[in-house]
Amino acid sequence: MSTIVFIDTRGEKLPKAAQEAVTYASQLNGGPVTAITFGEANGLESLGAQGARKVIVARGVKAVDSQQLTKLVADVAAAESASTIVFVHDATGKAVAPRVAARLQAGMVAGATGMPEGNRFKRNVFSGKARAYVEVSSPVKVVSLSPNSIPVAKGEGAATIEDYTGDPGPAGITVKEVRKAGTGIPLPEAEIVVSAGRGMKGPENWGPVEELAKELGAATACSRPVADMHWRPHHEHVGQTGVAIRPNCYIAIGISGAIQHLAGVNQSKVIAVINKDPEAPFFKAADYGIVGDAFEVLPKLIEAAKKLNAER
């Protein structure tokens, strides 16, 4: 019996979500943990600190080709007699995990939010408005872990690195181009998010929003009408129909807090709301609130953030 964990580690540094997934896999206590990754990946030995004994790398697979990566995971799962296969519930995990589950006829839990009790896994449903417990009865289980669900373990030890020697088969897709959306922190990975809505009146007023985000090391986000009116780029749109995020801290400025907006942000650990209308529904979902004009409040927040930065 063993646990395997598939992660996307391409890029300059190991993503936090990958470290979380390896931590999760080892805390399942389902035998030794083997991590699987692909492409050009560096610093993989350090995954030993999160409990990986071994990392298998398919260097020849460069893109998120769901068929090749499924073959890769299925090969390793067979070789290691894996009983649980862990993924990250992100764009890469969503390409591979469902295929692996279908191939192995495994029950799948998408977006688990914590450690299971036996075969019973917890996840969010109804866009965070409720939780569900899923029981998996198949011999092999597939679990994808929601980012920011568990703290990264900081243990000792280095993982051994092995190359995948199997044949992943032909690629079904070809990557033509990758367009980076801005240089800032990618929204789904951000721990602090500063978000603004129609209360900002126009795109020319986003200067202070960006400045506050910069001071806090935060990503910027917006409500849907703001993206629809092209005040802000579409990838910043959070909510039911946009990106769903769960940062540690979500600061909402001039956003009413419509249910569809909340659906994408209500899993944030702490929510602070700035709105000039004391009746704005967002205050009901908030931990901290300020009733006031964004144009007067923002400069005060920026000043306080600068002061905090100077002190630490």
């Binding site: 469902p98 799948m108 977006g111 408005k129 899923v134 998996v136 897709i173 249910i259 205050f283």
Partner: protein
């Protein structure tokens, strides 16, 4: 081009969320059910646009569900699908749904299989990928643009920190996210036409259900909001740092 759209029915976005039968089932009492927005606004409409641009082909919708899903399925026909299939089973697990859809679709020669990014009730985003595996097709999740010419699809998909442009030969499966198309409101002619379009009910085959949701629960109630006077707005930053410890 033969296109299959996976169409699911979900509670309206503003529905009151409550559970019944000892918190094992969603309480649909007094709730309006709608077509899953990702399936409707993006997957179905893009399928229709591709067919219209090609001037030929067909768009079929498939739904795993009971007779209570037929009004939603008819709406799909009113928006413009040519025919609809309902596989008669209560969905309880993603693999069960995917196996049923794949059993129906295999041998039918679909060139494109379009699912939504996720259902807005279960938020799994897995059925499309499972169907792709069972049909042996490439799969691109979270696609925000789709063009097809000469049997080659060009797709933009959302990846962390940006957008990736990929190419793949048909047949192909994908899941549709925001941006792929604009919502279409059915017109009177569409609604009339939908009445006579075929809605075929097929019996469910026997498939595995390796996972099941056994209980629901509401999140613990939020503590009271701490209000800060606007004149002292800077205090918010101090509290987020020293009290909440999140910045």
């Amino acid at each position: 081009m033969k296109i299959l759209v996976l169409l699911s029915q979900v509670p309206d976005t503003t529905a009151r969320i409550a559970f019944t039968d000892g918190d094992t089932r969603f309480d649909g009492n007094g709730v309006t059910f709608i077509m899953n927005p990702y399936d409707e606004w993006y997957a179905l409409v893009r399928a229709l646009e591709l067919k219209e641009a090609a001037g030929s082909g067909s768009v079929t919708t498939v739904t795993v569900g009971g007779a209570d899903t037929e009004a939603t399925i008819r709406k799909g026909l009113a928006i413009g699908a040519d025919e609809a299939v309902r596989i008669d089973a209560q969905p309880t697990d993603a693999l069960q749904v995917a196996e049923l859809i794949a059993a129906y679709a295999k041998d039918k020669g679909f060139d494109l299989v379009l699912a939504g990014k996720e259902t807005i009730d279960h938020n799994s985003g897995v059925v499309g990928g499972m169907v792709a595996e069972l049909l042996g097709m490439p799969y691109v999740p979270l696609a925000s643009k789709l063009e097809v010419s000469n049997g080659l699809a060009t797709i933009e998909r959302d990846v962390p920190g940006g957008v990736e442009v990929v190419e793949a030969k048909l047949p192909l499966a994908l899941s549709a996210s925001k941006g792929m198309a604009e919502q279409r409101i059915p017109n009177m002619r569409g609604i009339m036409a939908a009445r006579t379009k075929p809605l075929t009910v097929v019996p469910a085959t026997s498939v595995p259900t390796p996972a099941a949701t056994v209980r629901f629960e509401m999140p613990p109630p939020k503590g009271a909001v701490k209000m800060i006077p606007a004149e002292e707005a800077g205090t918010l930053i101090e509290l987020l740092h020293s009290e909440a410890k999140v910045i």
